[in-house]
Structures are given as C-alpha cells and as structure tokens.
Subunit: 90 residues, 2 copies
C-alpha cells in the first residue's frame, strides 16, 4: 500500500505530454538470514525474458540498479518501451 | 533512483527482529496511448511462475494489488516466503 502511495505522490498525473511507454519493475527482498547467495540477478534475467514475450523491448532500453544493504536487496529495472502506433495499421 | 530512496526512508534498517523472508515486486506501466488491453495480469502470472523456480512459495502467501488510473497501471505483489533454516540440515 505504501508503494502505491509513493507512486501517486511522486509521479505527475498528466504524463500525456511525455507520451513515452515505460515499464518500471522493482523487486525488494528482505532476507531472514544473511550470507545466502542472492538469486535476484538471475531473477532479473528471467523477468526480462518474460517481459519480452509481451513487448518488443531492446535490452539497450533497460537500465538496472541493484543495491544490497544488510538483509535487504533491491533490484530496479527501468524500461523505455518502443513507441506504439495509436491505431492499428491497415 | 527515487524508488530506492523510498525504500531507504520507509523501511526500518533493523528488520532482524522481524526475521521474515519477504519478497515485494512492483510493476508500473506508463502507457503512451489509452485504451490498450493490459498485459499486467498475465505478466503477474508469469512473474510468479519465475519466482517459484527460485523459492518454494505457496500461492496463499501472495497478496496482489492492481490499480489503474489514467495512463498508469500499478501491479504490486507481496510475498511472504517460507522460513528457511539458518544452517543446512545434515
């Protein structure tokens, strides 16, 4: 719920002037025990593979942030999607 | 970057006392054009399938929020992971 509030407060509602198709994915992992190997980098590759089944996204258009502190890891994917035509071509 | 700041400010750093393994996934989609069918519900199923390759998570442990407003959709998955032993069983 807090994340939704964050999006509401930080993102401008009138994004029509930007007119960019964007996808933002955020994965946060709170670990109960430290020292375990992280599976988020592998998870990232598989999530991207899933997304590419839905949208024709170039990997150059994906920016990735990965951070780790104490028992929390955060993976952030920001994807600028290609422009889509507003009406189907006939 | 903003999302990372959000996580840092809102989450207690000393989550060791909670000791729960948690995974939170957030997908935000800004659409350039309205009226397109959403693929996020299908994407949700596939992301969950990917996660279940890494962790043995019961679907009962997944709570889902989906919101749509104007050209923005937000899908939020909150997953409580099963307790893991701190040392391998021999």
């Amino acid at each position: 719920m807090g994340l939704l509030d964050y999006f509401r407060s930080n993102q401008p509602k009138s994004s029509a002037n930007v007119a960019k198709e964007r996808l933002q994915i955020l994965v946060a992992h709170d670990r109960a025990t430290r020292g375990q190997p992280s599976y988020l980098p592998q998870l990232q590759q598989e999530i991207l593979a899933v997304i590419r089944k839905y949208v024709d996204v170039d990997l150059d258009a994906v920016s990735v942030n990965y951070e780790q502190e104490d028992s929390r890891e955060i993976l952030e994917l920001n994807i600028v999607l290609p422009d889509v035509p507003s009406a189907p071509r006939i």
